[in-house]
């Protein structure tokens, strides 16, 4: 079929529908999430004037800590086996470097996950993440090609999922991790419906 948008006028949907919709969706999106976005403190930081950031589930931190802990355990195990069983003393050097890096990653995780946020604006989705290296992306809903929801085995155990918003540009890279299952599905349905009404060509 054609790519013609159904709506010939560039006028967006009447705000009433959006307001009504987001009123119901907000509760789902914000259930069990962090409530304050973590931003860099410097005055030169990137910040939007207005809008409320939706954040991700607190369970995501637990999932990340557990999976990082697994990695750490494997590194330690491999290092110990090499050191004690095979008597390879050099294994200490890469082993310790990897352990320090993983521990440092785990130490900043609680701050990092608080910095992930997204805004559902009238015509686009804004996604932000990172504190030291800040990144903020705005994607018009109409550019959506597809929405992916994925969850690993650990994610499933905690009832969270990851949502990926795919456009024709590979660099867009909007991946929202750690949404609750309900939030991910609600967000997907919301994105599908708003994208449909704002559909444009490539």
């Amino acid at each position: 079929m054609t790519t013609s948008p159904d709506h010939p006028s560039p006028t967006p949907l009447p705000p009433t529908t959006d307001a009504a919709e987001s009123g119901t969706i907000d509760a789902t999106l914000d259930a069990g999430t962090y409530d304050r976005i973590r931003e860099p403190r410097g005055a030169g930081r990137l910040a939007l004037e207005q809008g409320v950031w939706h954040q991700i589930s607190r369970k995501y931190l637990a999932v990340q800590l557990i999976s990082n802990g697994f990695v750490l355990a494997i590194i330690v195990a491999v290092m110990l086996v090499l050191l004690l069983v095979a008597d390879q003393r050099w294994a200490l050097i890469p082993g310790i470097i990897l352990i320090v890096l993983t521990l440092a990653g785990m130490a900043i995780l609680p701050r990092q996950v608080r910095s992930i946020g997204y805004q559902l604006r009238e015509d686009d989705l804004v996604f932000r993440r990172g504190i030291l290296w800040q990144r903020m992306v705005a994607v018009p809903y109409g550019r959506m090609q597809l929405v992916d929801i994925t969850h690993g085995p650990l994610d499933r155990g905690f009832g969270i999922a990851q949502l990926k918003f795919v456009t024709a540009a590979a660099a867009t890279g909007v991946v929202i991790p750690g949404l609750t299952q309900q939030a991910a599905e609600a967000l997907r349905d919301h994105l599908m419906s708003v994208a449909e009404s704002r559909r444009t060509g490539l």
Binding site: S4, H7, S197
Partner: protein, 595 residues
């Protein structure tokens, strides 16, 4: 030929033939057709001939001794026997009296190969319907590929040297996505040209525009008459086959300049450096270098020559259905890019070209090829080398929405300029450490529906992005940038050679630009109609109460039943409840789009 009656718009849209008024080739009538009969020869048969040639060349002596014994090598017969016993298969066959069986096997294998080629040709069919182009191929495992015409990103016609001799050409319909192209290889050159014109005409939405006009006129008979008249008029104005006429190129690149530009390139520098290193090594008596690097140098040289040969005979010209870019000396490629398929444009000048005042123009676009296909580089260069005047003319073709004075401004402020003139927001003085040389020039501007990113003082480049094609926009900031209160802006488009980022812009300015770009990207895309480019000319005419092309398309001509207003048109004041009589259900909305 095609049936002379144009299809009523109410007919089954899936498989209906294109309206006769829009197609000129007998092959694009909605029926299945086969490709050029020489296709098997061109696609694989040549390899078979080469193999046969090698076999014959290797058996030359033997063939001579069999057929012309007088020229046989002067070898005693018993030595021949020895030679044969040493494992020569032909000798073995002769010695064991298996000539008949061997011949039968050879003929059988040949017959199977030829049969396979023939069958694959017979089973390889294509058709062009009102909405799609479809290709079926394969004998045992059948493949069927259908590409919607309104998603066409470009149509290119390639004529490899051998195929050119036989009057055949490859037609490739470029789709959006990896490995999304539909290839019709091979067609006769004439057919390929007219089919390309047909495909583009069907994709252009001219049919929809005409139907809309027809729907405005009352009565079926009048439509038919109007259609005939319109067709006659089109024929009068355009000539019988307007697209066959070779459009005049707007840019003329002398062959000398093309070759010169290639000489003044990094490739030459590499070759010269390599050759010098080789010469020094040889003079010092280090001969192993010769074996190690000479082949690489030779290969690079061949690549260098091929680049020149490929860009020779370059032309760029406007056609009704987009910009037509042609290049190549031996293998000619001519590609038509419909409007609105260009996602980013970059004007750059390599430092080696600075003295000559040469520039190159590259674009980001959907190539629709699989990642393994490496022949894409030329398809992204719309101007291999040209002066600023050439650049301006090319910009006029590939960004038709830009007015002429604006184009001049792009060149003056964007390409050459080095200050904040022309609305450029540049790197603040305090952050000049980020761009020590180019900080005065490094910047961005938003004009109308374009985003412009200007970079580089020594290596000047300007990226121009139509906001209607922009996929998303991002801001990045690291600790150093934060301390300097600056940030970088990256615009995301489909992948291509254009760099779409600019760093070190003042924090407040860049946030404002981010918001503005995000907003304009939405509005520009909503008002963009270039994917059905021929409609735009008729869009201004108040022919129907509902301007939506989809609705006009499904409307029955002659009946002026008012259609329900589209969802977007039901404008309500903020806070109001939608009126009860007509609440457009979302499900219907989705079904109407039909994705």
């Amino acid at each position: 030929m095609t049936d002379p009656v144009p299809n009523p718009p109410t007919a089954d849209a899936g498989v209906s033939a294109p309206p006769a008024a829009l197609v000129r080739s007998p092959l694009s009538d909605g029926e299945w057709h086969r490709l050029h009969p020489l296709t098997p020869l061109l696609r694989g048969g040549l390899a078979l001939l080469v193999v046969l040639g090698i076999v014959v060349a290797n058996m030359r002596d033997r063939l001579i001794s069999i057929f012309v014994p007088a020229f046989a090598p002067d070898v005693p017969i018993d030595e021949w026997e020895e030679y044969e016993a040493a494992g020569d298969p032909i000798g073995w066959v002769l010695a064991n009296n298996l000539v008949l069986i061997a011949l039968l096997v050879t003929v059988g294998v040949l017959a199977v190969i030829i049969g396979a080629f023939y069958l694959s040709w017979r089973f390889h069919t294509f058709r062009i319907t009102e909405d799609d182009v479809e290709v079926r191929s394969g004998i045992l495992s059948r493949t069927q590929r259908r590409a919607p015409l309104d998603r066409v990103q470009g149509v290119n016609l390639t004529r490899p040297a051998v195929a050119r001799l036989l009057g055949a050409a490859k037609l490739e319909i470029v789709g959006a996505g990896a490995d999304a192209n539909v290839k019709l290889e091979y067609l006769s050159t004439g057919n390929a040209e007219t089919i390309r014109a047909d495909i583009l005409r069907l994709a252009s939405g001219q049919r929809l525009a005409e139907q809309r006009a027809a729907a405005a006129a009352a009565g079926g008979a009048r439509i038919a008459v109007a259609d005939t008249v319109a067709r006659g008029l089109t024929g009068l104005i355009e000539g019988d086959d307007a697209d066959a006429a070779e459009p005049e190129s707007v840019v003329r690149i002398p062959a000398g300049r093309l070759i010169g530009s290639q000489f003044a390139s990094w490739g030459t520098v590499v070759i010269l450096a390599g050759a010098t290193a080789l010469a020094i090594a040889l003079s010092q008596g280090v001969f192993w270098v010769l074996f190690a690097y000479f082949p690489a140098l030779l290969g690079f040289g061949a690549y260098w020559v091929r680049t020149i040969v490929r860009s020779l005979r370059y032309s760029i010209a406007p056609t009704r259905d987009g910009v037509r870019v042609t290049f190549g000396l031996l293998t000619t490629v001519s590609e038509i890019l419909p409007p609105g398929r260009i996602h980013a444009v970059e004007i750059t000048q390599s430092i080696l070209w600075r003295g000559f005042g040469w520039w190159t123009v590259r674009i980001n676009r959907m190539t629709g090829r699989s990642a393994s296909d490496t022949t894409t580089d030329q398809f992204t260069t719309v101007l291999p080398v040209g002066t600023l005047a050439d650049v301006e003319r090319v910009l006029g073709l590939i960004l038709p929405s830009v007015a002429e004075e604006e184009r001049a401004a792009i060149v003056r402020d964007g390409v050459l300029g080095g200050s904040s003139a022309g609305g450029y927001v540049t790197t603040p003085r305090r952050a000049r450490i980020v761009r020590p040389l180019s900080w005065r020039r490094n910047g961005l501007a938003i004009t109308g529906d374009l985003l412009m990113l200007r970079r580089g003082l020594i290596w000047r480049m300007l990226a121009v992005l139509p906001l209607a094609r922009l996929q998303s926009v991002a801001l990045h900031q690291g600790p150093v940038s934060r301390a300097l209160r600056v940030a970088s802006l990256r615009a995301h488009t489909v992948s291509g050679p254009v760099l779409t980022a600019v760093a070190g812009i003042d924090r407040d300015d860049v946030i404002a630009a981010f918001e503005r770009v995000a907003e304009l990207a939405v509005s520009a895309a909503a008002s963009d109609r270039s994917h059905r480019w021929a409609e735009t000319t008729d869009a201004a005419e108040p022919v129907l109460s509902s301007p939506s092309p989809e609705q006009a398309r499904f409307a029955v001509p002659g009946t002026s039943v008012p259609l329900p207003p589209p969802v977007g048109a039901t404008e309500l004041p903020p806070g109001a409840v939608p009126p009860p009589p007509y609440v457009p259900p979302r499900a219907d909305d989705t079904a109407g789009e039909g994705r």
